[in-house]
Amino acid sequence: MDTLLSSLSNANFQWVLVGSLLLGFASGVIGSFVLLKKQSLISDAMAHAALPGVCIMFLIFEVKSIPILLIGAAITSFLATQAIQFIINKSRIKTDAAIGIIISVFFGFGIVLLTYIQQNSTGSQAGLDTFIFGQAASLVKSDVQLITGGAFLLVLISMLFFKEFKLTLFDPQFAKGIGLPVSFLNGLMLFLVVAIVVIGIQMVGVILIAALLITPPLAARYWTERLGVMAILAGIFGAISGVLGAVISTTIVGLPTGPVIVLSASFIFFISLLFGKKKGLVIRRVRQA
């Protein structure tokens, strides 16, 4: 308890709290789009594929500059989505296998690069392995500011284009018909996913960041069927998970942040699954009886 109080008064930690809150909110909102596009596992592939990007940038520039590393993450993450599409379009391999191939090969290659860096890099071993599971405690102020600012921007974009996204997701043909730039909007949604994955990996890690996109919207679905409400609710669920994860993992030494955030989200999902107003199991039982 003492540690909690003392850390709460710590300025850096306050930043971490705000950052995790906004990050959670943004990923809940963006995750709602992902869920409706049925791309939950593609987002997992994008997350895993961020690792080699981080390592390659480190190898090229030999500095641990977060912005540069994250640009690398964005590039390989984007490449992963394209590679999945390419494999599906150009061969008889089906979607699920294509995603699995990209996840495991990109991540495996990332690990190769990571170990290469650890063996060969001069000076500090770069601490890149925090990218795997995320470590809120290791974030410095500029990192957190990047997360906070980035998440805020992504939420803003999501809100600005909300109507258009909704129509594009629901009925792309119709959206095209009334003159919406559907491919631009799809591109923008892809950008949002890449961006949220990239700014989130430091805190949550590449292995579990996708959970933050998948779980809160899924939980929200048990309470509402309207996309607008669902996105906001997912955002709130994400924000709660983010804050819980940051607080708990900072208080108990040795707990990585990502898994705790994800467990918090899973807990909210579980509650929703049982008691959700729309399709919750308990409600269904009651109605049936």
Binding site: K38, A97, S104, G108, T115, A211, L218, P259, V262
Partner: protein, 287 residues
């Protein structure tokens, strides 16, 4: 020399076991279930530790089989209740995996089991951890476990060969003519869990996923015969392990990561140059 040999044998056994089993998953469009199970068995291992207070082979296998089945069961239940299947997979495996990682953080001090290990394995330590019976060393435990699981898997595939084939190709027809489709499904889930946990200690989750999905997909591009696909997938797994080990030693990098990357390289080669389904020859044929 024997040290290297044991590592190579372990890698090859992982490639063979996961390759053969995984090719079935690729055909059943369940690759991502494999991905999920390879993550969640971590929870089974931790659970086994909580029960037995040791990291012993057999309880670990049992724990993994249970959690593997649970994963498949949860995914299916969620899917049946109306959640789209990829989101169902996503939510189940991240939850169980996160739980496993958090539990490890609590017991981490007591045992040699950390998250890094779970992801990448410790194949370099495999030769030290030998099976001792009556003071005689019988070779690494990992090799015995992998060999045992390989034997069980091959036996199950041999027994249920035509049932597996039919329920994969046309599950409804299989149901109609009395094939126990659900039983076969969960049997495969057990096979995946066993393969995963036997490989886990030496090569970690990443390589298991790679070995389960990629060699099978590669073989799928190279052949149109069911049986050929099975053994070819195993062979590609072995080849990946060998190439991966060689390059890992050469570049002094993670063995597991390097083996996973090798599966990717072989896949790209088949993707481009497979005589019948490769990109290059398809191009040539159309022009």
């Amino acid at each position: 020399m024997t040290y290297t040999l044991w590592i190579v044998i372990t890698g090859c056994l992982v490639g063979l076991t996961c390759g053969v089993t995984g090719s079935l998953l690729v055909l059943r469009k369940m690759s991502m279930i494999a991905d999920a199970i390879s993550h969640t068995v971590l929870l089974g291992i931790v659970g086994a530790f909580f029960v037995t207070q040791s990291l012993n082979g057999v309880p670990m296998l049992i724990g993994a089989a249970i959690v593997g089945l649970l994963t498949a069961f949860f995914v299916e239940t969620l899917h049946r209740s109306g959640v789209q299947s990829d989101a169902a997979i996503g939510v189940v495996f991240t939850s169980l995996f996160a739980l496993g990682v958090v539990l490890i953080a609590f017991i981490g001090d007591q045992v040699h089991l950390d998250v890094q290990h779970a992801l990448m394995g410790e194949i370099a330590f495999v030769p030290w951890n030998t099976l001792q019976i009556g003071g005689v060393s019988l070779g690494p435990v990992a090799v015995w476990m992998l060999g045992g699981v390989l034997f069980v898997n091959l036996l199950l595939i041999a027994i249920f060969y035509k049932e597996i084939k039919l329920s994969t190709f046309d599950p409804q027809y299989a149901l109609l003519i009395g094939v126990p489709v659900v039983f076969i499904h969960y049997l495969l889930m057990i096979m995946v869990s066993l393969s995963t946990v036997a490989s886990f200690d030496s090569v970690g989750a990443i390589l298991v996923v790679a070995m389960l999905i990629v060699p099978g997909s590669t073989a799928y591009l190279l052949t149109d015969k069911f049986f050929t696909m099975l053994w070819m997938s195993g062979a590609i797994g072995i080849l990946s392990a060998l190439i991966g080990y060689g390059s890992a030693v050469y570049f002094n990098v993670s063995i597991a990561g390097s083996m996973a990357s090798s599966t990717g390289i072989l896949f790209i080669l088949a993707f481009l140059f497979s005589p019948r389904h490769g990109l290059v020859f398809k191009r040539l044929r159309t022009t």
